[in-house]
């Protein structure tokens, strides 16, 4: 039986996955702070999976294939090797909202969620009822150190690894009493301060002329190890790899748009669609060949 049919099938399956990725990217073409995914394919050589044999030269006439005994294992299949998130920056859209912040550079905001610290580039923040700076899901945005700038503690902006989410009550939030190891101590509390909020390029938050804290912006040396989660959040398998941002600056009143380029996505869609058709054509040809094997060989 023609084993090439599986090569064509592998191709069709991989193309279908490519269409899934394009569909997700295009669905998020208008999602602020979204980073698009890209698929990488890998050639899977069945022939490489076995050792090279020393040619067993038979007595008698020698044919080409006697030197390369592959037995139908010379196909190279294709499999999806991985999805990489493209961290290319999106465009900036001016919103003039005081709590919209875009990161100019490779950094991420730190957000405390019930399942631990997450990272996001979606800087559309809100104020919760008690005045904390939160994301639109209500997760508190973290400052780079507990207690605000007024209580300078050395060892600034180091990510806290032993912190437990949800630690500490409301009364300790934003106060130095929450201690250095606690995430709750790094919540940014704007509640009791009246006046315009301004955020400096370094992330210092001022409200009514008073310094509230510094938004924590972290960078990673290896972005490919970030795991994508829903709602524009990323998690890091190794939180200690996050370090304080050096190359990132913040811009207030601006949001970063999705980095999906519709032209790229549509051409990727067309390519995947057509390649899928090619694979199916090959599949059909194998099917026809098999049909002839069944029906026509007997007639000879």
């Amino acid at each position: 039986m023609a084993s090439g049919i599986w090569t064509a099938t592998a191709g069709a399956v991989a193309r279908a996955q490519a269409v899934d990725v394009v569909a997700n990217n295009l669905a998020n073409a208008d999602t602020m702070g979204f980073k698009k995914d890209q698929l990488t394919f890998k050639e899977y050589l069945a022939a490489n999976e076995r050792e090279h044999l020393t040619a067993d030269i038979p007595r008698g006439p020698i044919k080409d294939r006697d030197f390369h005994p592959l037995d139908g294992r010379d196909q190279s299949f294709v499999i999806v090797d991985g999805t990489t998130t493209n961290f290319r920056p999106g465009n900036l859209r001016v919103t003039n909202q005081a709590l919209d912040v875009a990161i100019d550079g490779p950094g991420f905001f730190e957000v405390s969620t019930p399942s631990g610290i997450r990272y996001t580039r979606h800087g559309s923040f809100k104020l919760s009822t008690d005045g904390r700076l939160v994301t639109s899901e209500g997760f508190p945005v973290l400052s780079s150190q507990p207690g605000g700038l007024a209580a300078q503690i050395p060892n600034t902006a180091q990510p806290i690894t032993n912190a437990q989410p949800g630690q500490g009550g409301l009364e300790t939030q934003g106060g130095v009493s929450a201690g250095q190891g606690s995430v709750a101590g790094r919540y940014i509390n704007l509640g009791d301060v009246q006046g315009r909020v301004s955020i400096s390029p370094k992330g210092e938050v001022f409200s009514g002329g008073e310094s509230i804290g510094q938004l924590s912006v972290v960078e990673f040396s290896d972005l490919s190890r970030l795991r994508k989660e829903a709602a524009l959040m990323f998690s890091s398998p190794d939180p200690s790899s996050a370090r304080a941002a050096e190359r990132s600056q913040l811009q207030q009143g601006v949001l970063e748009t999705s980095n999906v380029n519709p032209v790229e996505e549509m051409s990727a869609l067309i390519r995947a669609n057509r390649m899928f058709e090619h694979d199916l054509k090959a599949l059909k040809t194998y099917g026809d060949l098999m049909q002839r094997e069944v029906n026509d060989i007997g007639k000879l």
């Binding site: 279908a16 269409v19 997700n24 909202q97 009822t129 994508k228 829903a230 549509m266």
Partner: protein, 260 residues
């Protein structure tokens, strides 16, 4: 491929919500006190087929994983309380808040609500109220013999009496909220406090960050038509591209079904 179909349909749904928001904004482009909306999209969860950074053996890890997304959803839809432009009406009981704050009003059913649209009128007994019957809190009654009223920037309401005197007849209060985006829009320019907005913080105009009152003006809608049109184009095209993905997925499913 079925996922491509459903991802594209989440995209259609999200863009439709966006389109509805834009059309509501454009419909209210001349509504005094109207605040434009904003929709925030969020990506849906990811199916992780291969974990990034998973151990392959001692000292070696997969450099990238395989994660497939499932589309988009509307994460939030809220109002943007940017100041609208002033529209001079020279009508005595038209009041505009220049800056932060809302007028507290009592609805005809007794409920307390808040509004930025200060097109007030007098009822038969001289009480200042909105056209839907909601009365200003604290209640201000214009005496029947008053020639006219004047409202100062700090909210003091004076009536000019026939004898050429002026009498202070009330003080307008404003309220602010910690999180005004959490207010519930009830139509008619009326907003209601919710658990998300927090309790109203009362104050006198021009004090503690409150805005000032401007008499004879109304706050126009803060919808920016040019921006809305750009958003409309984007939403329509994004919608179109999602339908294209659907078409491609459908074509592929059709082709698969026709192999045999």
């Amino acid at each position: 491929m079925i996922r491509a179909l459903s991802s594209a349909s989440t995209g259609l749904e999200a863009q439709q919500a966006n389109l509805e928001r834009i059309s509501n904004d454009l419909a209210n482009v001349n509504t005094d006190g109207y605040k434009r909306g904003r929709i925030e999209f969020k990506d849906l969860m990811y199916q992780t087929i291969k974990e990034p950074g998973a151990q392959l053996g001692v000292g070696s890890q997969t450099p990238v994983g395989i994660q497939q997304g499932m589309g988009v959803r509307v994460g939030a839809n809220h109002k943007i309380f940017e100041q609208g432009p002033a529209r001079m009406t020279y009508h005595q009981t038209d009041l505009m808040i220049d800056g932060e704050g809302f007028f507290p009003v009592q609805m005809p059913n007794g409920e307390i609500a808040y509004t930025r649209s200060g097109a007030f009128h007098r009822d038969s007994s001289g009480r200042i109220q909105l056209s839907n019957g909601a009365k200003l809190i604290p209640e201000i009654t214009v005496p029947p013999n008053a020639g006219g009223i004047s409202v100062s920037a700090n909210g003091e309401v004076k009536a000019s009496l026939p004898a050429g005197q002026e009498a202070v007849i009330g003080q307008i209060q404003l309220v602010t909220f910690v999180n005004e985006e959490g207010l519930n829009s009830a139509g008619d320019g009326i907003l209601k406090a919710t658990a998300a907005s927090g309790a109203p913080l009362q104050g006198v105009p021009t004090e503690n960050g409150m805005g000032s009152i401007m008499q004879g003006a109304l706050e126009g809608s803060n919808v920016n038509v040019a921006n809305s049109m750009v958003e409309l184009i984007q939403a329509q095209r994004a919608y179109e591209m999602n339908t294209k993905v659907m078409g491609a997925a459908d074509q592929m499913l059709g082709a698969t079904a026709n192999i045999k």
